[in-house]
Symmetry: C2
């Protein structure tokens, strides 16, 4: 979602500062300058502005509010705004916590909120309207800097400058205090994102000595059984400390012997806020290092001592930004403008935020079976938003982060091994399956990796078995019906059309791997299932349509609405295009190329009534073009479908329009949830001129590159270059394409073309080649 | 507490069956026949009748009720009755759970309640008055058998015969069903002893396959942060299974996709009851093996497979009883009657119930720091009821279980190493300090072991340091005041006299070790503190008396009451005798031998008003003799104090009277809480004719043996024999004593006398030797 408010002074200032940058610098070392973590922090982007390193376990970022799930017993719709804890238009900061999702449409985390304060100790957070009644503080964007691996803000109410940086597993805080006889650092263990009911299951804290604290937080939220351990150390001993326990339903027993509220070194309970006091000189910096572990406090302490042994904030920041530069430099791009440079490298940044590292420096991690495991020979990752990221993020990784992607596959296979359901992850985070959204798109990620030869560190045959077993788990989301009837009947299981279509695509992925590995029985089983999309196509309307268990289509049918119509996060217009495995067959089924071209044109140009937006979750007018919804994923491939018609120039036109409308270098610059990098991965692919319409195939559909040139520096040592000759904002049409000096006559590029190194040249034109 | 109801038919039956036993058998192999776990299960004994092996991790025993801590918002005094889950006079059994304290006066545990049922599935427990409304069942003692390592009962409402046995870490159930198309086995994870508020923190269950279940239960009760893991397996696959989740305050998220109530293999939440269904033939036995672990479900599974690999219930029972015979045979006794044989070996049984094993078969255990540790070269134990057990139980272990006692010391030292407070255990269980009662009596246990040369497996100097550091933890229970002022002032900290006296004794223990190890600085520090008992002695009343911080004695003073008078679980009469380290000095301070003898006589003969019992916790008329309270611990040494006067024959008379009045072979046969074996250890010492008045010294005060003869088979291969010549129920007085054929002229026996092997002969007489 975009809604650029360039008329506001704030936004203007922000844009002005961008103009000072030179595109030429992109070829120098400092690509971090183009990363603006603030992008997507307004409205629905759901990104966070704080400090993190590539694929880092710690995401140390400010919370501008911590909204409870319910207010006065009713669902509070504002919780959705705070998936990442930060909303750009808010005026106060509650504190800085250590775990955040990037761009999700559902929420959790926000672990271990730290807030430095001055004045009388206040242990409640206060309100946005009356921050003075609690520990939170006003702030302004003038005094705020968000960079890759660095965040800085002035906390006006406390006259404290807060700076944050991070290593993979350690958040590093630096607070510059005024003179204060009574400076406080609060550790709020009650705070958290999406505090539904009794989300806090248990928290435990030990004051190990005058500057080291360990403990853990266990929650039952989106992740049902989740524990995060920590070790926290101060650069200076505290003068005293204490805590309040706000839960009264826990037996206190003989702990009553002690005054536990002050200088008592062991705290445990459901609702705890701790505080640490310091005397400070004017301008004195107090630093906090805060390490996480999925395993134990000892693991956190080992992470702390290994990754951040010293008290050199600037060195950690420098190292973090160097790490970012290294990752960003995997693609060197010459964009059309500074804004585009910012869009591109911020998109790169967003794609490299996750999946996140989920193991200690010694390889230990908590498994789905709640047991401790050791990752031997791979990095274990978590936070798999697979319904989103199988589309473009993991294919992007197969080009630019192949070893990490192979490790992500390995992590998914370990999840499978630990699963009592014997399922690969659906949407998993922190040793939990949260079952969010639909499909079993792990199989797409695995197929894409195997088909592209990215099989380092795992057994492709075992991976195939895991895919097949997952796809046969009858209890899952209508899958039993699908297996028996060839579709999910809407009267038995909702969102039945979306499920049927996505299962059929996933089944095709399994079939491809089975074919490649010579597993004919599996190939036959799943290639047959891949045809099931046909079972929900209604020739009388030309749309995919919910079918009942008696074999008839449901009578009520609204092709615009997303509610109760057989779809999820998409309507019939968008979802009916979802047969990525067989675009040509789908087009034939829908009346042939000509009729389909007109149908697609309608999608991009029709006008939707306001009522549509009022009732539709996750979609706003800013996130759509006509009825094409870019702010959500189901139709992300749609603009590329013109490639299978006689009008590929319409793909070129549409994708450039989407790039322009949906991505802006501003806080509200994302046209919808970034969804753990999927929106950004779409941007990168499309900007480079090609897109993986069907992950699991080795083909990329060509589009219209939006840069002058780019170099992809591959892990295999080769370089693949993209050049756009005669490029310009209006030269969106491709006249001809050459690969390694030879004409590329088709509309596709193969994975091998890229990985072998070489150069693709697009000759751009202002007019379409019809 | 005794209150023998021999007029009731039930009790008569029980006594009759005992008469059939022959004392001669005591010298055969089967000592288990004398163990009656039912002893102490009525009234205040707080023992449990179920199956366990010596020092076993699993205590598999029936619950006759699970009383919530509060009823209608108010404290429910009945919770106290159910410390061990079972009350003999109850008519129904709720189920069989796997963890129980033996004889405590406070409660926790009751983990993993299993109940087999027939008929329609009922997941609520029902009530004692209406068991038919729930899964519980009526039963009768006619159909109940309680042996060491074996328990059997007929569940009348379900027509099921339930049998229980155990290995160290595995509970083994055998249920004989009638023909039932729909037999159930319920696993109630909500059930538990002392369910205060939200005691259940989290429970987690995985159905690994058609007969294996794993999971854990995390509670916040007496132990604040406690988790027990399990692995459970059935001898026959279930036909279906399911669960109900009774907590509605947990976010359900996308788990709603599934019907989790039936055949869904993953359960998690705060309030869960699971069920498993079976088809049964008439008389079909379904067995359940249920393993525990303090570390993980994998640990539990490994314990299960290591300790109980087969499905041979009888073999496990036989092995368990053989283990008991082996331990019981460490003392071979020829008692005066069958009743005394039962009393003696049941006392042995009770002393060997704990501390309990707290580590997996591979040595892994959870530490006080909530980290997993490995016990290298020792067995890690938990459940240290030290205010009770330092008196006689651990001294008894130093004779008859020295290696286990050394391992218990080692376990306490590991607790210290893991403690953020740097304190040895006060009252600890399951990786938690619960801080129950007063003093720091770990130091007594450690001093007793070191002074008696039982130092295998730990460093005595480090142990001494741990003792000294513990004794200097100023935050603890008035200890700062004590260190500064030489006493605990009652206006600053309650039960101040009891604390002052016990600290002074503990300090003496530290001084003894310091002296032995040549640590003069520590000796000086603590021998000085050991004199602090003098600071609370009031010569004007002749009693120890609460003193205020201004140095004056508190004006209000009631020498009978235990409430608010400066004492805990004892009154001035009993507690004023508590200077075990300096009996002679105490007697001099109290007016000399003659006056003290009269004072002691008064204690044993005075009549207390009924009002005393109405207001006094933990003491009933059955548990006292005069004003001497045997049902609680503070005066357990008192009857032996006549040894320091000119009337040692009064010790002989009193202790025989106490043995007779306070110990009976009946359900209500214990004169108070058995307190993890302390009451029973008192019985054993006293029956053998000597008692450790001051643990930490190597002397035992002689009393009056109550057996004809006994042989103590020591771990060092030697045998120490006790013989009572001219023994008889009325021949309670000792005319002379010979040790190894030579007259023993003093009133004491040394530890070396025992451990060197040999023989002590008491020549008994009907008349006192004045």
């Amino acid at each position: 979602m975009v809604a650029l408010k360039t008329n506001s002074q704030r936004m203007r200032k922000f844009s002005l500062s961008l103009l000072l940058l030179s595109p030429a610098l992109a070829f120098g070392q400092d690509l971090v300058q183009y990363v603006k973590p603030i992008i997507g922090t307004a409205k629905m982007g759901h990104t966070y502005p704080g400090a993190t390193v590539p694929f880092g376990m710690v995401q140390l970022s400010p919370e501008t509010d911590t909204i409870p799930y319910e207010m006065n017993g009713r669902y509070n719709p504002d919780v959705y705004k705070y998936c990442a804890g930060y909303q750009y238009t808010d005026k106060t900061i509650v504190g800085f916590s250590h775990t955040h999702f990037s761009g999700t449409g559902h929420s959790d985390l926000g672990d271990f909120l730290i807030m430095p304060t001055t004045g009388p100790l206040q242990l409640n957070p206060g309100t946005a309207d009356h921050p003075e009644n609690g520990y939170r503080s006003r702030f302004s964007h003038e005094n705020e800097t968000a960079e890759a691996a660095y965040y800085k803000v002035k906390l006006d109410d406390h006259n404290i400058l807060a700076e944050l940086t991070a290593t993979n597993r350690v958040g590093f805080h630096q607070y510059t205090f005024p003179e204060a006889g009574n400076a406080h650092i609060i550790l709020d263990l009650m705070a958290g994102i999406y505090n539904y009911g009794n989300k806090n299951v248990w928290t435990f804290v030990r004051i190990e000595n005058d500057s080291l604290i360990t403990g853990y937080r266990q929650t039952a939220g989106w992740a049902r059984t989740r524990t995060v351990y920590f070790a926290m150390t101060f650069s200076k001993p505290f003068t005293k400390y204490g805590h309040q326990n706000y839960a009264n339903d826990v037996y206190k027993g003989f702990w009553r012997k002690f005054d536990q509220t002050e200088n008592f070194p062991e705290m445990a309970g459901r609702q705890i806020r701790a505080w640490f006091d310091f005397n400070t000189r004017p301008g004195e910096k107090i630093q906090v290092k805060f390490a996480l572990s999925p395993v134990s406090t000892a693991g956190a302490l080992n992470n702390l001592r290994t990754e951040a042994p010293d008290w050199d904030f600037d060195a950690v920041k420098k190292k973090g930004q160097a790490d970012w530069n290294k990752e960003l430099a995997k693609i060197r791009v010459n964009a059309l403008s500074n804004d585009d440079m910012v869009n591109f490298y911020t998109a790169m940044y967003h794609t490299f935020l996750g999946p996140t590292t989920y193991m200690d420096v010694d390889g230990g991690y908590r498994g789905l079976d709640q047991l401790n495991h050791s990752a031997e020979g791979f990095t274990n990752y978590t936070t798999f938003s697979l319904w989103d990221t199988y589309r473009a993020l993991h294919p992007f990784f197969n080009i630019i982060q192949p070893q990490r992607n192979a490790d992500m596959v390995r992590s998914m296979l370990e999840h499978y091994n630990q699963s009592v359901h014997k399922m690969l992850p659906v949407w998993s985070h922190y040793a939990n399956e949260n079952w969010c959204m639909i499909g079993y798109h792990s199989v797409s990620v695995i197929a894409d990796a195997i088909m592209k030869g990215n099989i380092n560190g795992y057994d492709a045959n075992k991976a195939l078995d895991a895919c097949a077993t997952t796809a046969r788990y009858r209890k899952y989301d209508g899958l039993g019906y699908y297996m028996d009837m060839g579709y999910v009947p809407e009267d038995k299981n909702s969102s039945s059309v979306s499920k049927t279509l996505e299962y059929a695509y996933d089944d095709w992925c399994i079939a491809q791997v089975a074919k490649k590995l010579g597993r004919n029985d599996l190939y036959e089983e799943f290639i047959k299932r891949s045809q099931n999309y046909r079972n929900v196509f209604d020739p009388s309307t030309g749309f995919m349509r919910p079918k009942l268990s008696d074999g008839t289509f449901r009578k009520e049918f609204d092709v615009l609405s997303t509610h109760g119509q057989g779809y999820i996060e998409g309507n019939a217009w968008n979802y009916s295009l979802y047969v990525p495995q067989y675009p040509a067959e789908m087009i034939a089924m829908m009346g042939g190329k000509k009729q389909f071209t007109g149908h697609l044109d309608s999608l991009f140009t029709m006008h939707l009534p306001d009522a549509f937006f009022a009732e539709t979750e996750d979609i706003t007018r800013e996130g759509i073009i006509g009825n094409y919804v870019h702010g959500n994923e189901p139709a992300h491939h749609a603009a590329y479908l013109y490639n299978w018609t006689d009008a590929p120039w319409k793909t070129q036109e549409r994708v450039r329009m989407i790039l322009e409308k949906m991505y802006k270098p501003a806080a509200d610059g994302l046209g919808g949830n970034d969804d753990c990098g999927q929106m950004s991965a779409w941007y990168i692919f499309t900007t480079l001129g090609f897109y993986p319409v069907c992950p699991g195939s080795t083909e990329y559909a060509l589009g219209s590159p939006a840069i002058r040139s780019a170099e992809l520096h591959l892990e295999n040592g080769k370089t693949f270059s993209v050049e756009a000759v005669n490029q310009g904002a209006k030269n969106v049409y491709v006249k001809k394409v050459e690969l390694n000096g030879k004409p590329l006559t088709g509309r596709f590029l193969t994975h091998a073309d890229i990985m072998n190194g070489g150069k693709i040249v697009f000759y751009m034109d202002r007019k379409p080649k019809k």
